[in-house]
């Protein structure tokens, strides 16, 4: 059933993002044409150039803002609005609804980053930038061969950290909206308050943790021998693992809160 939910969730949101992506890429091409070619010399294009560049930047910003807006709006409208009468009478588990929305948000976020990167590449790439880029890639490849398996592990951990951290952020939003919906009136205000409340709890948790374990942790890291020829991978791997664990704990907490509220404390108007 999750695949079906994903299918419709993507369809519901693609109509917003795909045109935006197309527009951005189009503007990237236009900007490249106006900035890179011989037209560069002609002052005739100064004003149009400024306009297209401005529009391009605005669109990039809009794209990322849209991702946030759509995340919130889909959760609110499809689950807690009138559409909730349909969503929650479908023969699917409540957490599948949460999973579908979370995965699709992740999808569009990754695509947004890729589109932004691609557009920059379209605008800015030339012999020089390409040369720097290949030097960068060579450097990374060299690191990889030096550290072997550890390099793969660290790369994997970095990706995992990004995903878990992102998911934790999204669930932070969902949990806030769910808690906000428990309020009788001023639901949006309550949601906002819950969001801040959760952030505060997170901070307090970190402070307590650092107070309790900070000493032993820094001790652990200090014990390694660091040099420019060989950088020990173990502390990096452990540090990343720690950060993943930290995000994972909050992800699980927010997920549980959201699922519990939607399963047992749902009250559609």
């Amino acid at each position: 059933m999750l695949e079906k939910l994903l299918k419709y969730e993507i369809r519901a949101t693609a109509r917003t993002f795909l045109p935006l992506y197309g527009l951005i890429l189009l503007l990237a091409v236009v900007n490249r044409a106006l900035f890179q070619s011989a037209a560069n010399q002609m002052n005739l294009f100064n004003i149009p150039r400024a306009i297209t560049m401005t529009v391009y930047v605005v669109l990039i910003v809009a794209m990322f803002v849209m991702t946030l807006v759509v995340t919130i709006q889909r959760f609110y409208k499809n689950l807690l609005g009138d559409e909730g009468y349909l969503s929650f009478t479908l023969p699917v588990k409540t957490h599948s609804q949460i999973d579908a929305k979370m995965i699709v948000t992740l999808l569009w976020s990754v695509l947004s980053i890729l589109v932004a990167a691609a557009s920059i590449f379209i605008i800015a790439s030339d012999a020089d930038t390409l040369a720097s880029f290949s030097r960068f890639c060579a450097g990374v490849a060299e690191l990889y061969s030096r550290y072997g398996l550890h390099a793969h592990l660290i790369a994997f951990e970095v990706v995992a950290l990004c995903v878990v951290d992102f998911a934790s952020g999204v669930l932070h939003i969902y949990a806030s909206i769910a808690v906000g919906n428990l309020a009788g009136r001023h639901k949006q205000l309550a949601a906002f308050g819950a969001f801040i409340g959760f952030s505060v709890v997170e901070q307090i948790f970190v402070l307590i943790f650092v107070e309790a374990f900070g000493g032993s942790i820094s001790g652990y890291f200090r014990a390694f021998h660091y040099s420019s020829e060989y950088f020990p991978t173990a502390p990096v791997e452990i540090a990343l693992l720690g950060m993943i664990a930290y995000s994972a704990v909050f992800f699980a907490a927010f997920y549980f809160i959201t699922d519990w509220i939607l399963s047992r404390k749902l009250n559609l108007e």
Binding site: A12, D82, E83, Y85, F88, V92, L266, N267, L268
Partner: protein, 232 residues
């Protein structure tokens, strides 16, 4: 197990309000039953509980012998008072949606009804009038081969001609394996179609009877009896 919907000492309260007060009810299969009561009587609460949209505070509610969950949602076809259609979809997409999630969705029946009511499957839901959206919603719900249909005010916002069509659809959809539970204020229109009625007020069941028993014993229509019982 002959009852499709059963409530045993069902209790539901909200802050400051006891919505259902230890309700006991048993609705058999193969009947068309009216759930009648004034606003705030507990009708919607009972319906939401049956659909798993609320959880009981005490007691049980069983659909086909099971507590509300995925299995009961498969056999319940629910028409809420609100329009729950996803605006961005076309009618066609909505049909695909129902087909995807409900095994017992009868596409052919849906197309037939859409045609009968002159609704074009290619139209976007966003562009439709409220009345047309309600008809689409009703068609989707009635096109499922469910065991329990729960219709919350199905004829409320519709013109009289459409009302007749809806009631005729309910009648012709009838099967001994299915039960239709209709919650409504418009009793006069619906009376002839009902087997039994359940009067509910302030969280308690006040009366259960067949329509003909009421007419015979009281010598008046269910609508008249309702007005008497629930006089303001």
């Amino acid at each position: 197990m002959d009852s499709i919907l059963e409530c045993r000492n069902l209790v539901k309260y909200f802050p400051g309000c006891l919505a259902l007060n230890s309700v006991n009810l048993s609705i058999p299969k193969g009947r068309i039953v009216g759930l009648l009561g004034p606003n705030g009587s507990g009708k919607s609460t009972l319906i939401k509980l049956a659909n798993g949209l609320l959880t009981p505070n005490a007691g049980q509610i069983l659909v086909g012998g099971a507590a509300p969950g995925i299995e009961t949602k498969k056999i319940i076809s629910y028409l809420p008072e609100r329009t729950y259609l996803n605006d961005w979809m076309t009618v066609q997409t909505m049909l695909d949606f129902f087909s995807d999630f409900y095994e017992n969705f009868n596409r052919a029946k849906a197309y037939d009804m859409l045609q009968r009511l002159h609704i074009n499957p290619g139209d976007r839901l966003k562009t439709m009038s409220k009345g047309t959206k309600e008809k689409v919603q009703l068609i989707l719900v009635m096109s499922r081969e469910a065991e329990l249909y729960i219709l919350d005010e199905p004829i409320g916002g519709v013109d009289p001609a459409a009302r007749d069509y809806i009631l005729d659809t309910i009648i012709s959809n009838y099967s001994e394996n299915a039960t239709v539970l209709i919650s409504t204020h418009l009793i006069t229109d619906v009376e002839k179609v009902l087997d039994e009625v359940v009067f509910i007020n302030m969280g308690s069941i006040v009366l259960t009877s067949t329509v003909d028993d009421i007419r015979e014993k009281e010598g008046k229509s269910v609508d008249s009896l309702f007005r008497e019982v629930f006089k303001c």
